[in-house]
Every structure is written in structure tokens, then in C-alpha cells.
Amino acid sequence: MRRGRCTAARTRALAVALVVLGGGALAPVALQAADPAPDARFKQLLQQDFRPRGGAGMDRLEQDPVQKICTETHDRPPAGPREALQKEQLEAIRWPADGHFLGDWRAGEKVAQDGRGMTWSDLPGAVSGGGCYGCHQISPQEIAFGTIGPSLLQLGRKRGASPQMQRYVYGHIYDAKAYNLCSTMPRFGFSGALTEQQIKDLVALLLDPDSPVNRP
């Protein structure tokens, strides 16, 4: 009996659908299959080949919308989604209740020097540092600085220490993605890595005229 063309096409479509939908669940584990990397297989790789340790749980591998779009576009998101997500990040910033942004620059230097916190080898709940010297030049006395981020030497002297500038610096440390969506800089306040006081102390390090960052 000859099959109608419609039936054959529908059968083919169904077969394709089954392969596509069922492919993720039925495919051999991740790496070892022959086809290129579809989403399901990559997700399986992450689930099977990482395990929780210390304070670093598997939830850390789930991406939020910012991480997702920056990953997919290799840090070059289109303008529309970029603006929208930046706005969302800005609205999520918790500003100091007392309206003050300037802490103690000496304490700030300690926060900037300390690169510990949030790894699986750090005790959960322990005080974290900002690790700022990993990426930035800050105080002129510290020669062991990184160059991933711009130099912050003389920042207060160059840009002033007005309340608006203080607020900008505070916001930037709290959540750099509110100002530059795919910035390499971690969201230190948003992630809970640094406390409000620690961020205020960093603002002081960068903007206080007495800070070594700004001395002539």
C-alpha cells in the first residue's frame, strides 16, 4: 500500500522532533558524543563534572541574565538588552541608609590588599577582601598591582570627591555591571562579598584627599 506524501512528511517531522527533544536526555554523556555541543549536553557536563565544596555550591554554575547575555555575546551585548539590564542592576543597588559614602581609607587599603573570600577554601561567612590590587593600581606605594582594570592612582585628585562622585564610586564597587554590563569587575555588594562599611572604606581610599592615592 502506497503511503500518502502528507503521512510520510508528518512521520519525518515527528522523527526529527523526537530526535531534537529526546536528544538531550538520550544522548551519551556530554563530551564523548560525536555531534557539536548543544545546550543540554553542555549543561550535563557542568552537572556531572563539578561538585560542591566548602561554600561553593552547584547553584554557582547557574547563570543569571547578566552572566548569560555576556557569555553568549562574548561581552558585547546589543544596546537594547544592555541598557535594560544595566537599569535593573542600578535599581538593585542598596545605598547606605545614612546617605554617607566615605569611610576610613586606612581600612580601605586593607580591604584592597586582601584577596581572600568566597572560594571553596575560605570558610563560609568569613570576612572577604576586595582583591582590588589583583586588577588595579591604587596606592603609589604598592608596586604589586595588576593591569586588568584601569589605574586608580590620583582618582580623587583628578575627578574630585563631590557627593555625586562618591555615590558613583560606591555604586561602581557595589555593582559594576550597573554602569558597564559585561565588565570584568565582580559585583562586590550585589554578591555579598563586601559589606557596606568595607565599600565605604574603599571609596575613602580612592577619593579621600588624605589617602595616599590622592596625595601630590
Binding site: V29, A34, F42, T71, G134, Q137, T147
Partner: protein, 297 residues
């Protein structure tokens, strides 16, 4: 009368005491780096990129001083012993192990890993392949091997010594990691995807540090692993002896410690994810001459 031409002071020793004839050699580099940067004054801010040149020169000089007398050679010696000595319940040596160039062929094997292996049907890196051989030929349980794969001061890892030996046997060999079979291509693609995957509380991917040219974290140069030039420089310097740890470290260890600092959960030792990432970086390094285990700060 003999004339002493070389000695090395360890980083920890140097920090602890700061004195001693051997320590001075290393300590000598830092004061003139500081002097140059302080002398540069306010312009250092603008020339942060330019100011990295005297710093880079000082770092390069430190590396030159380290090059002689790499303790990794002692790990190579120990690895060779382990390769040739009968061990495990099967009382067999590893001399029948196929690292991709035929059973027992060690020379040049590291320069062609990771690759697809017909017997396991998997793409494997060196450490994964050593597990295959240690379990298959020697009968050592896998759980025993992966329980503590990285050396500590008190307990040395056998698999790290074997890595040193095998890697050393590719000294002078041009890297030629095969990305021909569909599985090898699949591994490369997955590795690339993992390389760019931003996650965790710090939003870090490998690319966050390793996808630009000329940057460094503190004073550590960050190779651009997404390019041929960067991958060639970086991949050919691993595995390596880490002076600051006083221990020999493999590439699996390097990935493990990177993920730790990325604030990710722990990667499973010699898992497909780590093999995929290794495939991405090693294949990017193809064409470079591998010069055997390196030595680093």
C-alpha cells in the same frame, strides 16, 4: 678552590628571613623595580601600561634566574622509576601503557594529548590516560588514584611524578594535538564553551583573565589562551615546579586551582569538563615546541 656560580633561595625562605647570600639574588630585583615606579611619579597613573615594562623586565630576569636547576627534573626521575616499576595488585609496570603513540611509547606522547583513544572510545588527556593504564594494567582502584591526586608537603602524588616524566619525554617536540575526529572536535567545542562561561558570585569565566593581551593579575602575567600565541607560551610551560609551593604541579592542578579562584565549585579530577578545557588550550598551542616541565614562582 671552587667558585659557586648558582644557588636558589625559595620564596618562603626569602620572605621568612629576608637575609642570606642566596636570598639576595632574588631580593635584588625588587628594590630597583620600586625605584623605577616611584621615580615615574604621577605619570605612572597614565602610563600604567608603560610602567609595566620595567616591571615586566624585572619579572623576566627573575624567570631567567629560576631556569637553571629546575627541581622538576627530580620529579621526572621519580616518575621514570614509577613507570618502570611493577606495582598494584596485578604487579605490572606501566611500560605497556599506550599514551597515543603505541604501547610503551612515551617519547612525543605529551605533545599529542589530549586525543581520542580507540580502546576507551574517549578523548583523554595525560592524567586521564594514566588512570586508564594504572587501573587497567596495574589493577589499582580508580578511587585510590583520584582520592588525593595532588601532592602535599607530607604526601607526594605518584600521578604527578608520572606526569613529569611523560611530559619531559616530549622535550623539543612540536605540539600536534589532533582535532580530526568528531569527538575531538566536540571536545574542543565544549572546552571553548566552558572557557567563556561566566558564572559564580564574581561572574568570572576563564576568559575574564585569559582573553586579552598584555594584562597581569598582581605581578603574574596572564596569557591570552584564546589565541595561538598566548596558548603556545602558556601551555608549553606546564606542567611545572612551583617555587612558592615547593611542589611539582600538573595541568589538571592548574585548572583545579583556577576554578577555585574563579569561585566555582570543584572540578572533578580528570573529568570530561577538564579534558575539554585542556583540549581547547592545548590545540590552540599547536605548532609550538614543547620544552619540557617548566619552573614558576
Amino acid at each position: 678552590m671552587a667558585e659557586v656560580t648558582g644557588a636558589r633561595a625559595g620564596a618562603a625562605t626569602h620572605k621568612a628571613l629576608g637575609v642570606g647570600r642566596a636570598a639576595r639574588a632574588i631580593a635584588a630585583a625588587w628594590p630597583w623595580v620600586a625605584a623605577i615606579l616611584l621615580w615615574s611619579g604621577a605619570d605612572t597613573a597614565m602610563a600604567a601600561g608603560g610602567a609595566s615594562d620595567p616591571v615586566d623586565a624585572a619579572i623576566a630576569r627573575y624567570h631567567e634566574m629560576l631556569d637553571e636547576g629546575n627541581p622538576a627534573e627530580l620529579d621526572e626521575m621519580r616518575g621514570e622509576q614509577l613507570w618502570k616499576t611493577a606495582a598494584g595488585p596485578a604487579h605490572a609496570s606501566l611500560e605497556g601503557c599506550d599514551l597515543g603513540r603505541g604501547p610503551g611509547v612515551v617519547k612525543g606522547a605529551y605533545a599529542e594529548l589530549p586525543r581520542l583513544f580507540a580502546d576507551t572510545g574517549r578523548v583523554q588527556d595525560l592524567e586521564s590516560r594514566l588512570i586508564t593504564c594504572m587501573t587497567g594494567l596495574q589493577g589499582i582502584p580508580e578511587s585510590e588514584i583520584v582520592a588525593k591526586p595532588f601532592s602535599t608537603d607530607s604526601a607526594r602524588s605518584d600521578i604527578e611524578a608520572l606526569v613529569a616524566y611523560v611530559a619531559g619525554q616530549s622535550r623539543g617536540v612540536t605540539m600536534r594535538v589532533p582535532v580530526h575526529d568528531a569527538k575531538e572536535k566536540g571536545a574542543y567545542a565544549l572546552g571553548e564553551r566552558l572557557f567563556f562561561y561566566r558564572a559564580g558570585p564574581y561572574d568570572f569565566s576563564c576568559a575574564s583573565c585569559h582573553s586579552s593581551n598584555g594584562s597581569r593579575i598582581r605581578l603574574q602575567e596572564l596569557p591570552n589562551l584564546s589565541t595561538t600565541a598566548g596558548a603556545q607560551r602558556a601551555y608549553t610551560s606546564w606542567p611545572a615546579y612551583r617555587v612558592s609551593q615547593g611542589l611539582f604541579r600538573s595541568f589538571q592542578w592548574r585548572l583545579y586551582d583556577c576554578f577555585r579562584q574563579q569561585r566555582f565549585p570543584e572540578p572533578v579530577y580528570a573529568s570530561d569538563a577538564t579534558i575539554a578545557l585542556t583540549m581547547f588550550i592545548a590545540a590552540n598551542a599547536n605548532g609550538a615546541v614543547y620544552n619540557g616541565p617548566g619552573i614558576k614562582r
